[in-house]
């Protein structure tokens, strides 16, 4: 009896194994497409081994298209333009494409397109741009007693192409008892027109691994590594009114956005609320005020929550939230850009929504 079972199992396994071996050999022979060239944005060629999906081929080359489902064709995040070599559109892609994208004809899901020959693709420059830069500290400005503006000069010949409002990750070097490197995200505060260097505004956080390193160890001439640019916190190209709200080092991305707009020009109504505790927490006030002359309809409103009697503060006091109402003309046609601590973001988002601003028009980075 036992030997019969054993024989049957063996026979069944033999059939299974034989078929599996055939499949493996066939896979080797048939799915081998040799070396294929992927031309990206007409600028750069990468050579990959054909046979796998465009998404994973690009990942292997450190080009990371967004993908939430990991290439199973169920999220639609990995859309990109395939100009040639991608074959016809597959029924598995259709459900994820809008009418306009279908009409365009070259929008594909990178996870469904197989690389079987040379292929030409177009991906947003922002994705292509994410890189690790080596840079040198070229300037350190003390904005306040606890906030520094640090300028990093990129290595010779390096250029960073970013949108005003995006952030980079700064890698720390080991110092004192901190043995490992850490990376922390900071918004770029300099204008995107300058692309051979960038400035970050970093506020000292007691016990903070990175801010302690920056404030107590970083010197002019030090070499660091930055990765980026990341993030979709950047000005939307509409005609809507804008409210900026920032606190502490949250001034950085707004500064970049304003400096960018000063070059490009705008007639949008903009109000910038900056929340701080006391007068000595305010910085770059003159610079921000100067934008009131640059733009047709801009005002900078610093608000102090705990002004000292010696500050002789005559401006607005308390929290920023009560002052939104008077500046909002049409809540449905107003965008808000926030940068600050998670607590501030939550409170401000709630106040803005109470004032009728749609949630999808409130933008912020969520890295806290």
């Amino acid at each position: 009896m036992f030997s019969v079972i054993l024989k049957d199992v063996a026979l069944l396994s033999a059939i299974g194994v034989t078929l599996a071996v055939i499949m493996v050999i066939a896979g080797r022979l048939l799915s081998n497409y040799g070396q294929c060239k992927i031309n990206i944005n007409g600028k750069r060629d990468v050579i990959v081994t054909g046979g796998s999906s465009l998404l994973s081929s690009l990942n292997d080359k450190q080009i990371y298209l967004p993908s939430a489902c990991g290439g199973r064709g169920s999220c639609g995040a990995c859309k990109c333009k395939v100009d040639s070599g991608g074959g016809p559109l597959l029924p598995t892609e259709k459900p994820f494409l809008s009418k306009a994208e279908l009409a365009q004809g070259n929008i594909r899901l990178a996870c469904q397109v197989k690389v079987k020959s040379d292929i030409t693709i177009d991906i947003p420059a922002s994705i292509f741009n994410i890189r690790r830069f080596s840079a040198t500290v070229s300037e350190i400005i003390d904005y306040t007693y606890d906030t520094k503006g640090i300028t990093f000069k990129l290595a010779e010949g390096e250029m960073i192409d970013f949108k005003a409002g995006q952030y980079v990750q700064l890698e720390t070097e080991p110092y004192n008892k901190v043995k490992q490197r850490v990376a922390r995200a900071y918004s770029i505060s300099s204008s995107p027109q300058i692309n051979d260097s960038l400035q970050l505004i970093i506020r000292y956080v007691p016990e903070g691994v990175c801010t302690t390193w920056v404030h107590q160890h970083l010197k002019i001439g030090d070499k660091v590594f930055l990765t980026g640019p990341y993030g979709d916190f950047f000005l939307r190209d509409t005609e809507a009114d804008i409210i900026y709200v920032a606190g502490g080092s949250g001034k950085a991305p707004i500064k970049s956005i304003l400096e960018d707009l000063a070059v490009k020009g705008t007639s949008r109504k903009m109000t910038y609320f900056f929340g701080a505790r006391t007068l000595k927490d305010l910085y770059l006030t003159e610079h921000m005020k100067s934008f009131e002359q640059v733009f047709e309809n801009f005002s900078y409103v610093p608000v102090l929550s705990a002004a000292e009697p010696t500050d002789n503060w005559t401006g607005k006091t308390g929290f920023v939230m009560p002052y939104f109402k008077e500046t909002i003309r049409d809540p449905k046609n107003t965008e808000a850009y926030l940068c600050g601590s998670p607590g501030m973001i939550n409170a401000v988002t709630k106040a803005l929504m109470d004032n009728g601003i749609p949630q999808e028009k409130i933008y912020y980075d969520s890295f806290g």
Partner: protein, 195 residues
């Protein structure tokens, strides 16, 4: 069975249509029949896979399962053979006939789980067909399946412009239509009978 392969072929298409008399392969029949072009593509793939896998399964049954005395494992073995063959076919078509791959190849994964394919292999064993009869029966069943899905797809295209009661829209009305088509096909049964 001493029925000739030629008769069996025609019988499989009309009098014993795998879909309309046995109601096998219903899932893809109902879901893909929304478009005539897709239906045709899937139908052609079914014909091809059905013909080959029936032959393959006959060989496996006759020369491995019966001598090895493991006929009771036929369900598992048939499914593995079908799955492996479909996978292999997909690789071959993708490599050597890209155009065909984009029209038919994408349906192949659907076919692996099409019970008409499996059903034909089982009928072949139950009815004790010879190799030639099995091939004829497989090909005929495939053509019959294509015929059925094409008819439904054509009718569904017409239905798009018709007022169908809300509760019957989509699959509901498709099943009723399939039932009426099945009745019509019973009309052929006087010509030849296979069991």
């Amino acid at each position: 069975m001493d029925i000739s392969s030629f008769v069996l072929f025609w019988a499989a298409i009309f009098t014993s249509n795998i879909l309309l008399t046995n109601f096998l392969g219903m899932c893809s029949y109902l879901s893909v029949s929304k478009e005539i072009e897709s239906s045709f593509g899937l139908g052609i793939s079914v014909i091809f896979v059905l013909t080959i896998t029936t032959g393959l399964n006959w060989l496996v049954y006759r020369y491995i399962l019966v001598p090895g005395n493991i006929v009771y494992l036929q369900f598992i073995v048939f499914i593995i053979v079908i799955a492996a063959f479909v996978q292999l076919l997909e690789l071959i078509i993708e490599r050597y006939a890209p155009a065909l791959y984009y029209t038919l190849g994408i349906f192949l994964p659907l076919i692996t789980v099409n019970c008409a394919i499996f059903g034909v292999s089982l009928f072949m064993v139950i009815r004790n067909y010879s190799f030639l009869q099995s091939i004829a029966f497989g090909a005929g069943s495939g053509i019959g399946w294509l015929l059925a899905i094409l008819m439904l797809a054509a009718l569904r295209r017409k239905l798009k412009e018709k007022l169908v009661p809300v509760g019957l829209q989509g699959v509901g009305i498709s099943l009723i239509i399939t039932g009426i088509m099945a009745l019509a096909f019973v009309g052929f049964s006087g010509i030849v009978q296979i069991q």
